[in-house]
């Protein structure tokens, strides 16, 4: 179970004060862990990998604090929480995940200080994002990143925003709500984050028909399975013949399980944990829970096999599973899995529209 090489490198992350050296550590760990994928249980692999990512991000946050102090900006004026959304929030980062992040800080006691505090955290978030870019994490294409002012606000601004999003849930706001649903603290003071999270679930409970609004967004990505039971492959370009595993298998499942979980008031963000909790709450029966977990393990494993490359110093992935990887057995396994996801989607639809 224990991996001495990884443990050693992990320990060194905490002591490294230099971004370039930190990047070197990441490269080493990535190179070390890549081949292990085939050797250990997939959940273990993800746990180990996400521990590394968390350590790197935490270190980047700490280094950024130090840097701001050296720049004469002082230390953080109020407690804050550095948040991860997306796969980071769900503890499902791969070797090539990008930055989906946010920042929430406590309200300053004197409201007149808000502007100054906001300025500090704006600068701080920018520094963290820059540092992480140097570590090879590309910024999120959808600009869900802490350096974007929309995602870097005080607690009351955050809760006010959530109130608005829940009250008038148009398409874009629902998308944001579902992003927030996966949020997790990676560095800073947990109480700030917990306040935000509880506010979210309070609104979730008290807002009529919100699940129905969330349904369309949840179902936006279709599974890659045709009416003849065939898989939809990419037709053109360098990925021709490959499968869009990310948006055609993994994301549909993540989305479906998320909606079930937040409807049931489950606080966990990791999809596997959500499935366990849903089973415990009786939303899923034992057999369903086991089947969904099994399928999700398959998707998690295949995700790590998707086309990845080092581009402009960033670890990136197209999320596509190349044709060469698709053996006959794998295709059958995938088809069976996707059929189960389709059943899951039906269940989610029924629950969200209250027809159950």
């Amino acid at each position: 179970m224990s991996d001495p090489v990884r443990a050693e490198l992990l320990a060194r992350i905490g002591n490294t004060g230099d971004v370039a050296a930190l990047r070197g550590l990441r490269d080493q760990i990535q190179a070390h862990m890549g081949p292990l994928l085939f050797e250990r249980p997939i959940e273990q692999f993800y746990t180990d990998l996400n521990e590394v990512h968390d350590a790197l991000i935490r270190r980047a946050v700490a280094l950024s604090e130090e840097k701001l102090a050296r720049m004469g900006e002082g230390s953080p004026p109020v407690p804050y929480a550095y948040l991860l959304f997306g796969s980071g929030g769900r503890e499902e980062q791969t070797l090539t995940s990008d930055q989906d992040s946010g920042l929430v800080y406590a309200d300053p006691e004197d409201p007149s200080q808000l502007e100054e505090v906001a300025r500090y955290f704006g600068l701080f978030a920018q520094t963290v994002v820059m540092t992480l870019q140097q570590l090879g994490y590309p910024p999120c294409e959808g600009e869900v990143v802490s350096s974007n002012p929309l995602w870097c606000q005080s607690l009351s601004q955050w809760t006010g925003k959530l109130d608005l999003w829940f009250k008038e849930p148009d398409w874009e706001r629902v998308r944001y709500l579902l992003i927030v649903a996966d949020c997790r603290i990676v560095a800073g003071q947990p109480f700030v984050w917990l306040a935000l999270k509880e506010h979210f679930f309070m609104l979730m409970l008290s807002t009529d028909r919100i699940a129905e609004s969330m349904l369309n967004n949840t179902m936006r990505h279709k599974v890659l399975l045709g009416v003849f039971g065939q898989l939809f492959k990419e037709h053109y370009g360098e990925d021709a013949g490959s499968l869009d595993l990310k948006y055609g298998a993994y994301i549909p499942m993540v989305n479906a399980i998320r909606l079930l979980a937040i409807q049931a008031g489950i606080r966990a963000t990791a999809t596997m944990t959500r499935i366990e909790d849903l089973t415990r709450h009786g939303v899923l029966d034992e057999a369903e829970g086991a089947a969904y977990a099994e399928v999700f393990r398959l998707f998690m494993r295949l995700r790590l096999l998707t086309t990845s490359k080092l581009e402009d110093g960033f670890y990136t992935s197209g999320g596509k599973l190349s044709n060469a990887r698709l053996t006959k057995e794998l295709i059958e396994e995938l088809k069976a899995g996707l059929r189960i996801v389709r059943k899951l989607q039906k269940k989610v639809r029924k629950r969200a529209t209250g027809r159950i």
Binding site: F232, H235, Y236, G241
Partner: protein, 456 residues
Amino acid sequence: MVKKLILSLGALSLLFPAMAFADDPSAGTLNMGLNSIWVLVAAVLVILMQGGFILLESGSTRMKNAGHIAGKTIFTLGLCTLVYWAVGYAFAFGTDNAENSISSVVGWGGAFFSPSVAAADGESLPSTVFFIFQLAFAAVSLSIAWGGFAERAKLSAYLVFTVLFTALIYPVISHWIWSSTGWLFTKGAQDYAGSTVVHLTGAIAAFAATVLLKPRIGRFNKDGSANEILGHNQVFGALSVLILWVGWFGFNAGSALSVGDGFFGYVAFNTQLGAAGGAVAALLISWLVNGKADITTTLNGALAGLVAITATCAFVDPWAAVVIGLVAGVLVFFSAKFFEKIKVDDPIFALSVHGAAGVWGTVANGIFATDVLAKKLNVGEGGLIDTGNWHQLWIQVESVLVCGGYTLVASFILLGIMKVVMGLRVTEEQEIIGLDLSEHGTFGYPEQMKKAQQNM
């Protein structure tokens, strides 16, 4: 009052004596007149289909070639007319050599066609109208062939091939199947309005061209995977299909060459059913197979339905017209996939729409033709389903193979010689710049393209 009237009528009859003796036209003349009106209208509709081809070819390709594509269609229509007038019509329908056995292969007589100004006694259609109608078909076949040239052929290649195609390729096939002395006609080959004569012939010339020209830059990757080169205007594409669809009523129903008992209405009716089947089947099959309903496939499906019903529209029952259209819609989808797989770059899907569906339409007569209609038209006999006899099906297959074979060999030889002597393809630089600029010196979309160039 009465006096005045009689007086003035008397004066008028002195001035215009014919008025007094004017005869009602004979039934034959009336019949000829009605035929002429319909067939000339049909010919105009078929000529208008060139507008469809302009929109289809330019809409399916990139902005930088749009002006070239539109302009060259008008130019080649003109050149095709002159060549068909000079020799094409003589090879196709000339009867001077009717006594000679060579007339089963190619006709002769009426070069530099100089028709009589009016229909002769007993003629059901003036030869002028017939000429225009046939010319319009030749021009359509030629425009189909251009699909294989799109976005990379030299303007001079268009010029030379127009002459060769209109003189040596198209008239031969049209003679075989449509001339009363043609050898396939006498065998009873059924191709009412030209699934083979017009569409397959054009498509095979396009195939030869696209093979000899090689794919457009960037169409295929080194590893063999294909890239999608999207057309610049899907609305043009849809409008082109509508224009072609409407023009097709001239194409098919006009091929009745008469008004007669109103049979041309039945032909039009089947035409509409075939087109409908093609459009519906194509959208559905792309939706089912790819998970996304593809617009381009839908447009191709409508055209494929029309191409397939072209040979069959006068020979089959309405239900069969629907089936023929539906099958064509499915066929065109898989055919396009097939050509992409074997790395043949077919920018406007001419090979699938006119080739595959043309073959299907011709062969479909051997399956679905009814004996009643074949007897009515006095061409061949009923197909497999109606008669249980394979005879007609075999003739249909034979005519596809022979006509396709001749066109394939002739096109490869002629284009091959052109390739050696003058070259077919523009330079890489010209292709990237676009043919608008390289061949004509000005863009079809000046504002957009200048802006794009500045950004390059």
